[in-house]
């Protein structure tokens, strides 16, 4: 009861705070934290659902109105949540280490980028871009393309185990990126490093502004992905994946179809990336191969492991933490230091305005990010929200 009141209060309070201080990063973090609290608190299920729905469906867009930056963060968080959930199936559930996951994202993104922009005219003569309405059809195309590429990659590499698989997926990811970077000759398919622009945006009902529209679209996809994930996890396919992860030989002996299960894992995981790729390309209006580097794959992998491998809420929280840390907390921190510097604040007798440019805070965000990754792993190796069974296995000291 106390928790219910607390949870409701917190959401309300922090939302009010964001509306009052739209520029304060900390207050927005408080809002995000209150959502986590709602998820973890012991409150009736209907209240939890209602509060989360209220926060995500109503409060977030309203707050986004006060500061569009937050809505952008929320949208990007959503995109990465879907990616993390997809990779979670491959790495977390089926235990197949995939280091080239972003390739599927790229495939989805390029599918809409090519046909949703005048670029396709180069190959097919005329008639492009397709009408913006096709975007919704391409969500499906992206999904199928992603799944298809996943299965294609899966086919030849099924014999490989562990890190051999990892290195082949890494190679595959690089191959896709380099192809995207080079296929402007002999036939111009991807326009190479110059990228493709302008990519059409989908028509939106009721004249909702694009920022909000993309937020809702991403949210919708994330909700669907989460639901699919939960169904999969409890289905016999999901159990087969976990069995393969724990012991491939034993699983095979128990009659788990290895080939089919693994292909399914690759296909499912990749399809989420494919669909998000389509959304990403429409949202960005412009894409080029720089968005699909190996580091992006590593970033998504870090989200999955940080959140807790094999755990759906873990993947959601992991993606949120990494994205928010990277786009908001570290940026906010260095901006804050910059303000102190500009204001000439004196700390311990040292005027910050004299700080040499070598120590410019904005330059060292990635360094701090790296340190945080190490610390998190040392102090919480099972991830932020681990699967309960795994948490028991590891035994939190």
């Amino acid at each position: 009861m106390i928790q219910a009141a607390l949870a409701t209060g917190l959401v309300g309070l922090s939302a009010w705070a964001v509306a009052t201080f739209p520029r304060s990063v900390v207050v927005f973090l408080l809002f995000q934290g209150s959502l986590l609290f709602v998820y973890l608190a012991r409150i009736p299920r209907w209240l939890r659902t209602a509060l989360l729905a209220l926060a995500l469906l109503v409060l977030m867009p309203v707050l986004g109105h006060f500061n569009g930056y937050y809505l952008e963060i929320a949208t990007q968080v959503g995109i990465f949540v879907a990616l993390a959930l997809g990779l979670n199936i491959v790495v977390g559930l089926a235990g197949l280490l995939d280091l080239g996951y972003v390739a599927f994202f790229a495939v989805g993104a390029y599918s809409w980028a090519i046909f949703g922009s005048p670029h396709a005219n180069i190959m097919f003569g005329g008639g492009f871009p397709l009408a913006p309405g096709w975007f919704y059809a391409f969500l499906l195309v992206g999904l199928l393309l992603g799944a298809g590429t996943g299965v294609l990659l899966g086919l030849p590499v099924l014999r490989l185990r562990g890190d051999y698989l990892a290195i082949v997926t890494l190679g595959f990811g690089e191959v896709i990126r380099v192809l995207a970077n080079n296929l402007d000759k002999p036939v111009n398919i991807t326009n190479g490093p110059k990228g493709i622009t302008p990519i059409s945006r989908p028509p939106v009902p009721f004249d909702v502004p694009y920022a909000e529209a993309f937020y809702f679209l991403v949210l919708l996809i994330v909700v669907v992905v989460v639901l699919v994930n939960r169904r999969l996890e409890d289905s016999h396919v999901g159990r087969a994946w976990e069995a393969i992860r724990e012991d491939e030989l034993a699983a095979q002996a128990m009659g788990v179809p290895l080939v089919r299960s693994k292909l399914l894992a690759f296909g499912c995981g990749a399809s989420f990336a494919g669909i998000m790729g389509v959304v990403f390309s429409a949202k960005q209006v412009f894409i080029n191969p720089e968005s699909f580097t190996f580091l992006e794959s590593i970033g998504v992998l870090a989200m999955v492991i940080l959140g807790g491998m094999g755990s759906i809420p873990g993947a959601v929280v992991g993606a949120t933490v990494v994205t928010v840390l990277n786009l908001q907390v570290l940026k906010g921190f260095s901006l804050w230091l910059n303000e102190l510097k500009n204001a000439g604040v004196v700390v311990l007798g040292y005027n910050l305005a004299d700080l040499p440019t070598q120590l410019e805070p904005a330059k060292y965000e990635r360094m701090i990010f790296g340190a945080i990754l190490v610390l998190m792993m040392i102090f919480r190796p099972q991830g932020i929200l681990p699967v309960r069974r795994r948490a028991r296995e590891l035994g939190t000291p």
Binding site: R366, G370, V374, P381
Partner: protein, 323 residues
Amino acid sequence: MDLPLLVGIFPQVFLDGLILGFMYALIALGYTMVYGVLEFINFAHSEIFIVGAFVGVEILLGMRAAGWLEALPWPLVLLLILVAGMAGAGLLAVSVERIAYRPLRGAPRLIPLISAIGVSFFLQDLIRLVESIWRNAFNLVYPTMDALNHRFELTETIDVSVKSLVVIAAALAMLWALHALVNRTKIGTAIRAVAEDQAAASLMGIDVNRIISLTFLIGGAMGGAAGVLFGVQYGLINPYSGFIPGLKAFTAAVLGGIGNIPGAMIGGVVLGLLEAFAASYLSLLTGGAFGAEYKDIFAFSVLILILIFRPKGLLGEIVRERA
């Protein structure tokens, strides 16, 4: 197609590929040794490698400022920076293991991987921070030593420089030393025992932690040596230049059969040759339709093919799958 041209450059391309391959082989050793013992990918090895290169260039620049660079004979200078680079990188590898990996021993095997990624990010920008305060520079240039740049013209189109020969000689010497160490000494036996079964090794009275530290020291030192040779051969380094060679070397280690020391060497050389031939010949053979930019695709495609037919790498891995 210009057949005499294609044939004419063949030996030169082969030689270039060989040098690159030995470089990869040296870096790959660091991955393979750590993997053999701990079964985890030391993602931060590429930064350990580049730290070796930075130690080397700092000493060279210091010596040049003091005027010793011209005064001392070049083999001595080279030996000195090699040893210093190995020491610096080796010690760094040991401390990274102590701080970021040891507390995670026993956790699922992907956990230390993320820690290693964190270390990699951290080290990249740490190197940059230190260098920007110390030299206010981003790119550092290896001072040229004229004796090393001397070239022997074998034919009109083929030549080889002293430094290339040095790279090959140094790599071979170090690979031989490592092989001897692992297979013929007591320490080597201990390392192999720990790789086989940590618990049993510790029952036999082997200090597992010390052996693991030692593994990191050796692997790091090999990486450091590769870093110095990389700097001498190619001339320019920055805090991020370790990343790509590191990735390639890791690929080479897997290609040869991870955990397998001769495998790392073979894998490195094969990858180096593949890359060199792809970069030189693709454009010539396809009339410019596909060029050097496809060399990585070519290398990775061959890698995938090899792994499909030999799923345990060229020489097979030595580590058993742990139940």
